[in-house]
Symmetry: C2
Subunit: 228 residues, 2 copies
């Protein structure tokens, strides 16, 4: 609970750039149509919506509460992300007809739509608009993930930090993350991030504060992120 706020942002970023974002791929109208294809289920904290390796017979649309996604054994968890209301999980495995890729465990009390594969598919066959929307959402996510691959390949920490700052800056051009958190997000060391931020500060592209980075020159940051 200590690092709750930071943790929250951290996981949100990871989830977004990783594949299971909190975006809502369906409009209210679509949801209405979909509602007939799903049941509402409630999960107690700590219980699983599904587990890695299980046959994927259903996807879930979260309504309330949050869910941790992780891979690997329960003891040696590799958390992939945490998602909240609006997120769709399990769809990749369900549509592909493969076992679940990760496990999904309720963090708090969770309410979710439960779409059974056998009920959903006929529904989608009748409502191409929903399918198309889902398609667009998945392609958007695919593009984001591809971009992430490009960033991980070859780029220096400096460029990665610049890229993250551009993406994460809020409406006041601020990024409220600790350097340690940024380091984890990028898979770099805290010291390297510190060095990179100093360099950006030296060039006058950003200002730094306690658990805060303020973007001064977004254009330059974009340029730095593209280098290398």
């Amino acid at each position: 609970m200590k690092e709750n706020q930071t943790d929250q942002q951290h996981l949100a970023w990871l989830a977004r750039s990783f594949g299971r974002p909190d975006y809502l791929p369906l409009s209210p109208d679509d949801l209405k149509a979909l509602a007939e294809a799903g049941d509402i289920v409630k999960k107690y904290p700590g219980t699983h919506l599904f587990k890695e390796g299980e046959s994927a017979t259903a996807a879930f649309l979260l309504r309330e509460g949050e869910v941790d996604l992780y891979r690997g054994a329960t003891d040696r968890r590799d958390v992939v992300g945490r998602v909240g209301p609006g997120a769709v999980i399990g769809d990749i495995a369900m549509f592909s007809g493969q076992p679940y890729i990760s496990s999904a465990r309720a963090v708090g009390h969770v309410t979710a739509f439960h779409f059974d594969r056998d009920r959903l598919l006929p529904k989608l066959a009748l409502s191409p608009a929903i399918t198309l929307r889902w398609l667009v959402a998945s392609l958007t996510q695919l593009e984001r993930t591809q971009r992430r691959v490009l960033n991980l390949m070859h780029k220096t920490v400096l460029a990665q930090v610049a890229g993250l700052l551009v993406n994460e800056a809020d409406d006041r051009a601020e990024v409220a993350l600790s350097q340690a958190t940024i380091a984890i997000l990028l898979g770099a060391s805290r010291q390297s991030v510190n060095e990179a931020l100093n360099e950006l500060k030296r060039r006058g592209h950003v200002e730094t504060g306690y658990r805060l980075v303020r973007v001064l020159d977004s254009e330059s940051l974009i340029r730095v992120a593209a280098e290398d």
Copy 2:
């Protein structure tokens, strides 16, 4: 034409793990319906199917020939991949209503289906099976790309090479790629790959030949890939 065979394998892998695979396995009926929504176009070597930043009004399904996908200016190209027959390109941008993310240039003589957005969308509305198939294909691709992110994060070249060998080994437990090709696929240098292969060979997990790696101990490789 010189590096044709290797190139083929190399790019097939890149395409598969990156985002533009031969991923549209549609049934004859679906293809027939699709055919009515698209024209066949031919492109001469060096000409563009589309360019980065252009308004994305169409997607292409390659029938013959190969296409380079790259980002950035023509002079300072950052090749994202090369795809061949069966690949679908431009769909992300077209469906999302955004400009093309990358440029696509014909390597040799290219024949492709050209799906105009305005003609395709109504067709999809009438043929949900096609849309659903497209959705499944994109989700499958998304999953692959996510896996790739996991492999690129934090791992040493040794672990990355081990992971690639496990994924790419054919039914005879062989991987017919040159070390230079493997290096490009992983975003590493040829020398590092050579060193990693030597280490794996020393441990008795693989044998190497000319443009060939034979997996002797898949279990150990999986363990090595998980390290770090």
